[in-house]
């Protein structure tokens, strides 16, 4: 067997797939329902890639259709703002020599090998970057990311692909400032044929549009645009704007922000399957402008067009790109002008956030010395609080009713978790993610900070809360704290989670970059 694999290592066959042995796995950087994700180095070229394993067990129907969809779509989409699927490799679980039959379990029709998708490696994901303490996006930077997000999404939509899981952790960013859409595991081709019924169990709860929550099975690109609106607001607001714990609460949060729908503003809404079930008990007014009054005028105009309840009236990616927001000063910056991860340390300095930097230095040093003890690393918290006072500004007023998402959840738990991807500064890839910034733990929901991928296209199991609630643990938000612990992610920062361990700044995103005007 080794011999056959070795044959494959050297040269790339013109047809058929290479063996995964062509790559050296460096570390696991994610774990999803799909399978694990590894950072790996191609042995021959030294190129760093991400390997996403396609789990083949438990498949009575052969190669999973979800993987077929993803592969089909990724092979079809070639765009600078869409992650590139480089190739597909097979593991030596089976013979790579095609003359030998693949090993299959005679009883269960199980296929014993594994298949990996090989992706270009990206250093960060948007949520990870946004969660870095001390990192505050500038307005041109947010515009730059938003523009790339919309450009990539527009490309998907004109090619009749719905992404169906747009969220920060699926937007990967490299050190050149390029943003790429990733994780097409839920994506689907759509035709303009409205007869096709699609599932409404898609899109991570906080980014899920009202029509899906109301049970619509006929929908289109507008679902992705809702998610974009949520991300846009999140970038400006500093934390997720609609962190519902379950579907009814999610809808309610939407209604509180966008008003309650009726036939007047959303023709046909009463015919959506679950409308009567979730029908708002009392009418509420739209409060977007009121709640986000600190956003600049053009940002607010655009956001309002994205967060339109009626999908038919929601702005398209193409029209959003034409919005005043992108054509008024300050203009979106050139991606290449954006700070790289390493230099983002300096970036902070420039912002004269000296206090914070010192904290990070301490955190980093301590982390290096005692990587295992983060869960009990309290000293930095205080400064975290002072930081909070300093930057938090109006954020607190915004917490509609309950405290907002406790995004800085105790990721440090993951260190103790066998499942959790390894973290620690020494393991960072050269030039890769995680260099500065004070070690793991900021990526509360992505289990380790080894890079943008961590939970990116490959939701880490550590996140626990189901992305598509309704099936389990309704109390958990979709990007909640270290899952598996059942930690409700949206709880306030008080209580048992106040000890935020490795995150010296405190975990609330709001603290981290506060308000953008």
């Amino acid at each position: 067997m080794a011999a056959t694999n070795q044959l494959n290592v050297e040269e790339r066959p013109s047809w058929g797939s290479r063996s995964v042995e062509c790559f050296e796995k460096l570390e696991q950087i994610g774990e999803g329902t799909y399978g694990q994700v590894y950072m790996a180095r191609e042995k021959r070229t030294g190129e760093i890639v991400a390997l996403k394993k396609i789990r083949m067990d438990n498949e009575k129907e052969g190669f999973p259709i979800t993987a077929i969809r993803e592969i089909k779509i990724l092979k079809k989409l070639q765009h600078e703002n869409v992650i590139q699927l480089k190739e597909i490799v097979t593991s030596p679980g089976r013979e790579t020599n095609e003359q030998v039959q693949p090993v299959a379990d005679a009883e269960n029709n199980k296929y014993k090998g594994s298949i990996y998708m090989v992706f270009e490696y990206m250093d960060h994901d948007l949520t990870g970057l946004a969660d870095r303490p001390g990192l505050r996006f500038t307005v041109p930077q947010i515009k730059c990311y938003m523009k790339q997000l919309l450009t990539g999404l527009h490309y998907c939509h004109v090619n009749q692909v719905l992404h169906r899981d747009i969220k920060g952790s699926n937007l990967l960013i490299d050190n050149e400032g390029n943003l790429k859409l990733a994780d097409f595991g839920l994506a689907r081709s759509f035709s303009n044929d409205i007869n096709a019924n699609l599932t409404n169990r898609v899109i991570t709860l906080w980014y899920r549009p009202p029509e899906l929550l109301l049970g619509a099975t006929k929908y289109g690109p507008a679902v992705d645009m809702w998610s974009v609106g949520c991300i846009f607001a999140e970038l400006l607001y500093g934390k997720p704007i609609l962190p519902g714990k379950n579907e009814p609460e999610q809808l309610n949060k939407i209604f509180e922000l966008c008003g309650t729908p009726d036939e007047l503003i959303w023709p046909g809404v009463s015919k959506i399957p679950w409308y009567n079930k979730f029908k708002p008990t009392r009418p509420m007014k739209k409060r977007i402008r009121e709640l986000f009054r600190h956003f600049d005028r053009h940002a607010l105009d655009l956001l309002e067009k994205m967060l339109v309840l009626d999908p038919a009236q929601r702005i398209s990616a193409k029209d959003a790109l034409d919005a005043e927001y992108f054509w008024n000063d300050p203009l979106p910056c050139d991606p290449k002008s954006l700070p790289k991860y390493e230099s983002s340390h300096e970036f902070q300095t420039k912002k004269k956030r000296q206090q914070q930097r010192q904290n990070e230095e301490i955190a980093k040093r301590q982390k290096l010395q005692h990587p295992q003890q983060h869960a009990r690393l309290p000293p930095i918290q205080q400064s975290g609080q002072s930081h909070q006072q300093h930057w938090n500004g109006p954020g607190h007023q915004m917490n509609n009713n309950s405290q907002m998402a406790m995004t800085g959840a105790p990721s440090h738990h993951q260190y103790g978790k066998p499942r959790g991807p390894p973290a620690g500064p020494s393991r960072y890839p050269p030039g890769g993610a995680g260099g500065g910034g004070g070690g793991g733990g900021y990526y509360q929901d992505r289990g380790g900070q080894s890079g943008g991928y961590s939970n990116a296209p490959f939701p880490s199991q550590g996140r626990g809360p189901p992305p598509y609630p309704g099936n389990t643990a309704p109390s958990n938000g979709p990007r909640g704290a270290a899952g598996g612990y059942g930690a409700p992610p949206n709880y306030s920062q008080s209580g048992q989670y106040s000890g935020r361990g490795p995150n010296p700044m405190g975990g609330n995103r709001n603290q981290q970059y506060g308000w953008q005007q």
Binding site: W15, K75, Q78, E98, N109
Partner: protein, 249 residues
């Protein structure tokens, strides 16, 4: 825009007709000829169509399945990839790829109904194993561009909407040949429209000229299709088919 035919692997890998006549060395050893290839692929295409009628899938799935099968045999031998198993497996995979999933056990069940010959029987696990091999042989390129997409529009534009059914039938028949591996799908569609207009005595020269496509290519494809119809009787001769099939393991 890259997700179109012109940037697809289907376009980049369009083959020369000569390339399709190359018999895999392993098949050569068994005495299988280029003519046998044609016959077997023709027979297997018909088999896929019949299976598809039982499991009730769209024509598009059938067309994709046959294309997969034809793509497989440009790179793999029939000796290793038994066409009797490749046929249902391609249908199985195409059904997934075209979002009309069919259960493997249903397929195994209908195989028995369609083909009484024992040699066609297969276990579910054989289908699943072959699926992996086919995916690999196809290099995971699962998207197929078909002539159907452009057909309706072109017919409308040519003022030939009344010939839709006839032209559609012609396009279906092109899958009994390797045309989809050799020509861009819109040219196949045009060739079928060309044949339909000649048969209807409809004067369409001006319309074709305005399209600014190479009419020689279109006419050549049309000739190939007509040649195929001429040889249809010979192709579907049971004895010849079974003689070719019997060379397989």
């Amino acid at each position: 825009m890259a997700a179109d035919f012109w940037t697809s692997s289907q376009f980049k890998q369009l083959l020369d007709p000569e390339e399709l006549n190359v018999v895999h060395p392993l098949d050569k050893e068994r005495g299988i000829t280029a003519e046998d290839y044609k016959l077997i692929k023709f027979h297997i295409s018909n088999y896929i169509v019949k299976l598809a009628q039982y499991i009730k899938v769209r024509q598009r799935v059938v067309a994709t399945a046959i294309t997969y099968m034809r793509r497989v045999y440009t790179r793999r031998s029939m000796t290793e990839y038994n066409p009797r198993l490749v046929a249902p497996t391609c249908l199985y995979l195409a059904a997934k790829a075209e979002e009309s999933t069919v259960q493997a056990r249903l397929l195994a069940f209908y195989i028995k109904k369609v083909q009484s010959d024992e040699k066609y029987r297969c276990e579910i696990k054989e289908i699943l194993e072959m699926e992996m091999k086919i995916l690999e042989a196809l290099n995971y390129y699962l998207v197929v561009f078909h002539p159907y997409r452009s057909l309706t529009q072109l017919l409308q534009d040519a003022g030939m909407s009344d010939s839709t059914q006839q032209t559609w039938g012609l396009v279906n028949d092109t899958y009994k040949m390797d045309l989809i591996l050799v020509h861009p799908p819109h040219l196949i569609a045009l060739a079928c429209i060309y044949i339909a207009s000649v048969q209807k005595d409809k004067e369409n020269t001006a319309w074709f000229e305005e399209l600014r496509v190479d009419m020689n290519v279109v006419k050549n494809i049309a000739m190939e299709i007509l040649d195929f119809y001429d040889s249809y009787k010979l192709m579907s001769d049971e004895n010849r088919i079974s003689a070719a099939m019997n060379k397989l393991p």
